[in-house]
Structure formats: C-alpha cells, structure tokens
Symmetry: none
Subunit: 429 residues, 2 copies
C-alpha cells in the first residue's frame, strides 16, 4: 500500500508536484482552477509543494514531465487526460515512462458499463480503455464520470496520483481517496496555517521596510504581495496542530499591527467594500454614491458584497454634465465656473445624492480617467473624491498618474474613496 | 488583425515557455490568471507553447527552472519576483543561472526615483535593486509600477522576457515591449494572421456543431473558445504575406457569418458595450440605465468604453426599494403589488430614468442575484430586463439558474440586456 506521511516528506524535502495535462490550458482557453484547488489542499495537509507544471496531451512531453518529476518530487498529482478519446493518453504515457504493462481493471470496466447503460449510450467501445491501469496500481473510482484515477508507486519514493480534469470529479475523487490516505497515513502531523493582513494607502516597499526583520523569520514566514492599490502580508506557520500554528501567528500579527496597523483595513477575505459596509452597518448608518468617471464601479464594488442592501441605498451615475444637473441638482454655473472635475462640483454631487436618498453618508467621484480629456491643469489621472457624512464634508484631489490606463484610474478611484471613508468612520467612532 | 513571423520558431520547434514565480501560487492563494492571459497571447501570435511552470521565490529552484527552460524552449516568459523586497529574486537568480554580472540601468533608476518622488515617499533605497539588470539585457520600462522587466538573450537561441506579477502592469509591459519585439523579429515571409468573431446568445457546443467541418481545417484553423456568456471563434491563417492570409481568412468568415451571423455581435476587440454604443452613436441616440441587482455593472461596462460620454448620459443605481421610488418615481403600490423583481417595476424603472435624463433609450434591470432573497416563484437567478426606446417597450424574464454565483448572475444580466438592445437596434435600422 501507499506510504503517505509528511514525516518522510520532511526528511526528503521532496514534496508534491502538480502536473495539469490539457492543451486547452496551453491555449489560454481556461484558468487553471484545478492547480489552485490542489495547491490549497496540499497546504492544508502540510505537504511541501514546490512546483506546478502544465503540458499538453502529447506523449513525448508527458513522459518527459513524468520522469523529471520522479527525480524531483515524492508525489506527483496529475489532472486531465483520463477521458475515452484519442487525445487522452495520460495512463498509457505513464505506463510507457515507467516501463509497465497495462491491464484491465475488472471493477472499473463493470462500473463504466453500468454508467454508460444508465445513460442509454450504445456500443461503449471507446470507453473500455479507461479501465486500463498499470500493473500494481490502485484504482480511484469515479462516482460521477467514467474516468477512474490511480494511485501508483512505480519506483521507490515516488507515488503518482492521477485525477480527471473535470473539476467536480477531480475534487470528489481527491477527497474520497488521496485525501483519506493522507489523513490515515500521516504520522507526524504537520499543519500549515496562514493568515492574511490587507493594507491600503501604503506601498509594498514601505511595508517591507517596516517589517524587514519579520520577513527574515523562518516560522512563521511573513511575505508581502501587491496588486493594484492593494498590499497584503501573508503570515504562514508550520506546526503540529492548528492551535500551535495560531500561537505562532498571533504574536506576529500583533507586532505588525503595532507597527503599521492604521493602514491595515482587514484580514483574509475582507475587501475595502465589505469592511466599510460593516463599519456603517455597526453604526446603523446608510450610504449613497454619485459617480462620474468611475461610471458605476463604486456601486458595483458595494453591491458585490452579499447583504449590502441593508446599508447601501443606491446612487446616480452622472457621466454627462447634464446628468449632474438633472439627477443631482448640481448648479450649471458651478460646472461652468469650476469645471466638472473640481472640488466644488464633487461636493455638490455628494450633497445632491445624500439629499435625494436621505442617506447618512455619500461619496462622489469626478475625474479624468482618460485616455482623452486631460488638460495641463487637470491631466489624465486627476480625480476629485467628495465625502459627506453627518458631521463631515471633505474633498480630496488624487493624482493617479497620467500614464495609467483608464481601468487602473477607475479602480484606484474606487479604492481610494472607500479607504478615505473607512478612515473617517474609524476616527468618528 | 495581428501578424507575426514564426520562422525562427518553426525552425527550432522549441516554442515559448511560461514561468510564473510566486509562493502565493504554490499556496493556492490565487488563480494563475497571468499564465492564462500570456498563453492566449502566444496562441494569438501563433507561437508554439508547450509548457507552463510555477515555482516559488526560491533561488535554487528558480535557477533549476531557468536552466531546464534554456534546454527546452526558445523563449522563456516569466512573471513575478521583480518587486523591491527581499523575496523578489527573479533577476539576481537569472544572473546567477547564466553567470552574468548585474549592472544598474541608469534610466530605470531615474524613472523609479521620479515615480517615488511623485508619491512623496522618502528614502527609496530598497527600490534601487529594481534598476539592476544583467549585462546586455534590454530594459522594459514600467509605466505604472516601479518594477522594470528585461528582454535578455543569455545564450544563443534562448531569450528571456521578465514581467511583473501585477496583472495590469504585466499586460501593459507585454503589449509595449515583448509583443512588439515578436512583431519585429520578422525575417522570413511566413506570417500568422488571426481574426476573432464574437457571439452572444448561442452556446459553444451549438456553434461547434454548426461549423464542425471548418474546425477540421488546417489552414486557416478555426477554434472555439467560451467564457461566461461569451463565445468566440478564432480564425488563424499561416501564409507568406499579410494579403495572402486575408485571402485565406475572409472566405471562412463569410461562410461562418452565413451560418450563424445573427448571433455574431462583433470582431476582434469589440465588446457588447462598444458595439451597442456604436449602433446608438450612428443613430445619434442616447441611453440611460436603471440598475437594481447589477448595482452599477451595466453602467461600468458602458463607461469602460473610451468616448462613451457622447452616448451614455448616466443612470440610477436603485438597490433599495425606496431608491426606486425616490430616484425613478416607481409607484410604491407597484412594488407592493408585483414585487421589486417584476415586469411592471422594471418597465417603470426604465420609464423613470428615460424621463429623468431625457434619453432616447433606457435599460432597467431588477432581479435576484443571490445568494439570499430567492423564493419559489422567483428563485435566485430570475432577472427582469426592461428596455424602452423611441418605439419600443419590452420586458424579458431571464432565468440564469439558481446554482450560479452572485457575480455570474450579475455578469449574465449585463450581457443579456446589452445583447437584447443590440438586436432591437439592428431590427430598427
């Protein structure tokens, strides 16, 4: 039977490798959700995972990938290429790579026939090859599809687990077989736990400077990641139990918060929209928005949060100047005198929607998202954010940079306005 | 239409390999969207692409991956590990792998300093390492972030292109540099040209059946791709000149259009929003929107198109019922009698915004996006779309399915409403 404990993995430091097989991945037709899901499972089981590979349904390249993995890793988990058609060649390529014979697994063939009968399919000849497995391999049966998987150790210290490419089948079979094996065979339980802290209004490099000593740590590790307008720190601990992991992680989180806590808007799955809505909800206050250059993206961010309707009433998209006048009552002469992208207009917009919807708070955004419409005084990337609350009324001019794309300027405007409101709400509580 | 010469690639049959660098990917924290996007670009350029690899920010494993790729591929495209922090080691690992010295690129350092100055950040010392490049490498400047990339040929017939992990920066830099380099490499006269036809309201499998004979062709090839609510056919020809490619592609496009042309909404970079706005613009007509369950996503789709302001006036986000009454004048008794998700209310919403903004057309959307709020009569996924024009007034009930995510139901609502308006506009012209 298959040996499966992380103790040995730690000794060999070889870990598990994921190989996703499918030409559609190489054509960029689909996102590799299987790799992400399996990687998360491996992290959960505390199995070191150092490499993911994608290759197409090509025998030569498959065999190369198998042999490379056998020199590098303790486990190889494959997805895809188990179907009945000519281009499904994972199993035959495996047999060839490790010089094994294929034999028919009787139970698999009975199950395949039963499944095909139940769907009233005729002459299931091409499916028969799915019952072929290398000698000595253990079969993972497939409850929903016809493609079985295998768990096979063709050479010492190298075990292959094949799973189908259909995500639901892959997940069920992993849980039914491979994951159970992992549970039952783990002797030294090592668990990886991870916590994310999310930041806004501060750059990745500034954060990295402030926690440079923590980034040197071995356990837990602290790693910064950045995406547009958003930085996060991931704190990851290896320990013998979830509880012990928390005891490693919690003091580090406290330390980070004491250094840069004011920029930290949330944890794990939080977003600026969810956090801001939660702060408003706690105060039983409501919000409305008025958007020009962001054209609905702030509203979209708020309504993407399930249950937003308790707090977010609605808003106006006032893309054209006449809409600013008609829907929000912004005086025409204000737009003529100061321009649509101005402190005066953005405040009038916020006041207008707050009054119309009788909300407690309102955010208004008006700026030059480009690519056209920039001037010397107000180049592309200039965005006014207006925020009005029970006691507050402020307008901020942001300069997101004229080289940024329209989409980036819109995204940064949304992030910045939510973050500003969040900070105001915190200062008022 | 894009042309690219694959002469050199055809000779070596080595193709391009994608290496995504980031511990985050190995922890299963994020989907590898960069690999998908780059794979699609490579397919678009007709560059053979046989392997994708993911490794973490670990020098030993990075160097292994670089050297393996150098034996296997003509091009290595990397993403990630270009930031200023300690765990960003892509460039130094590259230099070590190919035994090259790192030297500071003056222009890069000036640009980094300028970017940091413009944000009033102090002592940008840790960013300085981002200006280091291997001797002989060409620098790809980064317009929005501080991380530059490189194009470097450390040994004959092996070129490395490094890009940052932030998707927006990665895409911009690919388009500005790498994609242009691939164009300019043209030596021999073999050119790959590609054209995309985009469809809505028809499934990938129905399209595939209707053009099954064309999908068998060798030159040009016809390949279907599907994403949520959107199907495309890519027609790709190899030929000795641009003109010859067109002569291969054009008859196929005509044939496809004669079979399924009514579902084809556009070509290449078109979107349903851009096509619908163009149809309105041609008629010198304007549009306004009223959104409930989509919460601003229809407005966002329209305002994502540069120059939308000529045609799109604005709209109301009426997420709460009181907003439907206040902003759009939907009678309270209509909501009480028929419910907010009803034909009657969605038409009243469309009428309300059309009147408020004096637009020629209006779209209104009200539905149950979930995950909560579904009933037996109106389960999650039920969405009413209302469209009003100079001569039209119609409401459609869509059932997108109760098992779909909130995000998917919102996206499909936007797509379906734009497609319905597009068809109405075509029937009126």
């Amino acid at each position: 039977m298959t040996e499966f404990n992380t103790n040995m993995l730690n000794q060999t430091d070889k870990g598990a490798e994921i190989l996703c097989i499918g030409t559609e991945l190489l054509l960029g037709n689909i996102l590799n959700g299987n790799a992400k899901w399996l990687a998360e499972e491996l992290a959960f089981f505390g199995i070191p995972h150092y490499r993911q590979v994608v290759v197409g349904d090509n025998k030569k390249r498959l065999i190369e990938a198998f042999l490379e993995a056998s020199n590098r890793s303790r486990f190889l988990i494959t997805t895809g290429g188990l179907g009945p058609t000519q281009d499904d060649i994972t199993v035959e390529s495996l047999a060839e790579a490790f010089e094994s014979e294929l034999t028919e697994d009787e139970t698999s063939w009975e199950l395949i026939k039963a499944k095909l009968d139940s769907k009233n399919l005729s002459s299931p000849t091409i499916e028969r090859k799915q019952a072929l497995v290398p000698a000595g391999a253990e079969v993972i049966h497939n409850k929903s599809g016809t493609a079985p998987g295998i768990i096979w150790t063709p050479q010492s210290n190298f075990t292959i687990i094949t799973l189908p490419g259909v995500p639901s089948e892959m997940r069920d079979m992993w849980k039914d077989s491979a994951a159970k094996l992992l549970y039952s065979n783990i002797q030294k339980k090592e668990v990886i736990s991870s916590k994310i802290l999310r930041f806004s209004g501060i750059s990745e490099s500034t954060i990295a400077k402030k926690v440079s000593d923590l980034i040197q740590l071995d356990n837990p590790t602290v790693a910064p990641y950045a995406s547009l307008g958003d930085v996060k720190l991931r704190i990851t601990a290896r320990s013998s139990s979830k509880e012990d992991s928390h005891q490693l992680i919690d003091p580090i989180i406290e330390e980070i918060e004491s250094r840069i806590g004011s920029f930290c808007y949330g944890k794990d799955e939080d977003s600026l929209a969810s956090v801001t809505l939660a702060l408003l909800n706690k105060r039983s206050e409501t919000i409305a928005v008025a958007e020009s250059c962001t054209g609905g993206q702030l509203s979209s961010a708020l309504t993407s949060i399930p249950g937003a309707s308790k707090t977010f009433i609605g808003g106006s998209i006032v893309y054209a100047n006449e809409a600013k006048e008609t829907l929000l009552g912004v005086p025409k002469k204000l737009i003529e005198e100061f321009g649509a992208v101005s402190k005066e207009v953005v405040i009038a917009m916020a006041k207008g929607i707050k009054k119309n919807l009788q909300s407690d708070w309102a955010i208004a955004i008006s700026g030059v998202a480009g690519p056209d419409g920039g001037t010397d005084k107000k180049p592309v990337g200039s965005v006014y954010l207006g925020i009005i609350g029970p006691q507050d009324c402020e307008a901020i001019l942001e300069d997101f940079g004229k080289y940024r794309s329209r989409q980036a300027i819109q995204t940064l405007s949304v992030i910045s306005s939510l973050d500003r409101l969040r900070i105001l709400l915190l200062s008022r509580s």
